[in-house]
Symmetry: C2
Subunit: 441 residues, 2 copies
């Protein structure tokens, strides 16, 4: 009997403890538990319980035509630190379809001067901590994490494959990559991957003294890539001697990083949903509240072979468009069939002629190649040809920069500048002549 009594007492004690633990669990807010149920379809209904009402209102306000389309997009965020974590949170709260996060760092108390991570997450991997918080904030977003350094050989291949198949349905590439890393090597790795995959991306950065930052849209072949010129940073008119030395702890502020993340995601929304103007280069100088902008054309002498390939691809696309325009003109004039035939033949000959026409940057680049790589993402199934548009061949990165912007280091002297500019002159004249002749037909 005594045993039964003891056992009963034990049960009572356990029941009390259990009740206490349960009450702790329920009264305490649950950061990574199910905060809200998933929502199958974005609604514009104006009720307090609809987390998308203020976003769908952008349609009623005439800003965005198709806000719910945001669920179809997949964005990769590389680097989940001071800028990347806020970037990921903003996209999550906007209801992006899929987020792919890359980082290999751990949360530390020393990160608490930036938004997003909280002290209890110290020691967790940044991607894991971010995934938990983001899934809790918006369970509708698919969040995929990769806890590795993308700059090592094996990880780089994995990174490329993830980007190439990162779309919502897994059958295509991600819609955009956002670079929120804090070092040159990682930026160059993203640049190499994006040039090879012909993948648009936006690079972002914050200075080591914490009072300036920038974002830069990079469309391979169309705008300067990260390797086309020394990276551009915001000039601050601060005594250089006071700036960071090797090994000195960089400063950071939640304000500067929040502003840069905000500008980055705002331009991402404009890019994905097609409203407003996406800015190519936007700087932020916090001391003066100065925001320099500029356009950046690619450098034909870029040492990245895939950048040069993409430049050729881009010029090819431009040529195809121009040719289509001429054909449309011909058709609209309702000329006789034989004349139309003649003109299309001329166009064909013209294009073919151009293919074998000029000495191209291709030859120079080809010398550095170990083997000729035919790329499977080349939608036009064409060889590398010299179809550069003359105005684009003039490398804008060599010219004076916009006020308030400077190169992060001096550009090496280029020996082929003269040669290139000759080519430009030659191409320009021939092209104008031929276009005039064609139109005159």
């Amino acid at each position: 009997m005594s045993t039964i009594k003891e056992l009963k007492a034990k049960i009572k004690q356990l029941e009390e403890e259990l009740a206490l633990e349960k009450s702790r669990n329920t009264t305490k807010a649950e950061p990574h538990g199910p905060g809200r149920d998933k929502i199958a379809k974005m609604s514009a209904e104006v009720v307090d319980s609809n987390p998308y009402s203020r976003l769908m209102a952008l349609k009623r306000m005439g800003i965005v035509n198709n806000y719910e389309q945001i669920r179809d997009f997949s964005v990769a965020v590389v680097g989940v630190g001071g800028v990347g974590s806020v970037t990921a949170e903003m996209l999550t709260r906007c209801g992006i379809g899929k987020l792919i996060l890359f980082d290999y760092d751990k949360v530390e108390l020393a990160n608490m001067n930036r938004l997003f991570f909280q002290p209890h997450q110290s020691g967790m991997s940044k991607v894991e901590a971010a995934q938990k918080t983001l899934s809790f904030i918006n369970p509708d977003v698919i969040i995929e994490t990769h806890n590795y350094n993308i700059t090592t050989m094996a990880n780089f291949d994995n990174f490329m494959e993830t980007i190439r198949t990162g779309s919502i349905d897994g059958n295509g590439p991600v819609n955009l990559i956002l670079s929120c890393v804090d070092n040159f090597e990682a930026r160059m790795a993203i640049n190499d991957a994006c040039n090879e995959l012909n993948q648009n991306w936006i690079e972002s950065g914050v200075s080591e003294n914490a009072v300036s930052g920038h974002i830069q849209l990079i469309k391979p072949g169309e705008t300067a890539c990260f390797g086309c010129a020394p990276p551009l940073v915001v000039a601050e008119n601060i005594d250089e001697k006071t700036l960071k030395r090797e090994g000195v702890c960089a400063a950071s502020l939640p304000t500067t990083m929040g502003v840069v993340a905000g500008l980055l995601v705002q331009n991402t929304l404009k890019y994905l949903l097609g409203f407003g103007n996406v800015t190519e280069y936007l700087g932020y100088s916090a001391l003066q509240d100065f925001f320099p902008t500029m356009l950046m054309k690619p450098n034909p002498q870029c040492t990245g072979r895939y950048c040069v390939e993409r430049q050729a691809d881009y010029q090819h696309v431009r040529w195809i468009r121009k040719i289509k325009l001429v054909v449309c003109e011909v058709v609209n004039r309702q000329i006789s069939p034989w004349r139309c035939d003649l003109q299309l033949t001329s166009l064909y000959l013209f294009t073919f002629h151009r293919r074998n026409w000029h000495p191209t940057p291709k030859e120079e680049v080809a010398e550095e190649k170990e083997e000729e790589i035919k790329h499977d993402t080349n939608d036009w199934a064409i060889e590398l040809v010299d179809e550069t548009n003359p105005e684009d061949l003039v490398s804008k990165v060599d010219e004076s920069l916009a006020p308030g912007i400077k190169h992060s280091y001096d550009k090496p002297v280029e020996s082929k500048g003269e040669e290139a500019s000759e080519t430009v002159g030659h191409t320009e004249e021939s092209m104008d002549d031929l276009m005039a002749k064609l139109k005159g037909l």
Copy 2:
């Protein structure tokens, strides 16, 4: 025996349940539990466990001389919504000494498209939810909350008293007020309180279509107050017909609100810690990434009587400074005592003379007053005098605005413009004459 067996099974089951509940409690992150211990003194030590290392690095980088002084400052944030909550979080992570939060709203799922609040906080009051999260993020910050609408009569008095005694030690006013409210009435209440208390504040706002915003520093008497002219907003070149109608749900974006909060807190840090330039008016147009700025002088015909009083105070301070300068000149020239005496007497007579000299805006304003209020925060213990500086009397708010900025509504026609401009001309000439005479002595 069967009973004992049953009891033992029951115990085993309870023990398992208890273990599960306990593991839930420990594996789960605790959002409002003690995230980290308090830190008595900000350290610049570069270790992963120091939450202030990246902020104190601002000293080493030559940006801020005295970062640890941030602990001496108290800031009030009025409105803890999309901009205010991020503002409060940034200041908390920067290690501000004291935060005083005002709001009377509850967290809703419809707020989840902005940063900061999380779904499990739905239904909580915004100030309570914010206090818990912020204390958890940085327990070193003193956080005081006021859960009421500041625009009602009784609450307004309480608001005034809180501001007047809101310093770290409770013996003086807060160092700055940040307005993050979303309506005209609340902004006017803050404006009235700040004009009466001679309290500097920064107003912020985001447009109802979510794609523009601004911040505006208001120093009573020195810059235009919120009532000096119709509020300025960023012009967007969007068809007005598409804009919000009464009762239509406003749109919002975490990006725009994050950028505005970032710019607001960045300028707050510059203001408090004395680095860089604090911008008086800074707009943000998201569609074009355009950031208009402008300076705004106060309007001598402002209908707010305390604004006009502060304008007179400010001019008095300027006069005192000018007189001190002249005295310094006299002293530095080491002139004879009788000459110095003569000059100081002249200065005194000059100042006295000016006091009773002109017809002032005071008379016009006084007519509207029910009783003459002698203000206890008037540090100079002077009566309302016409010591306006001529260049400041020219109301810049009447002139063409900076590109990209417009009034939020048309300014009412002012009947006293002609009279005022006559006064300006008269003052200007007399002042120049007298200053020339004084210097010539």
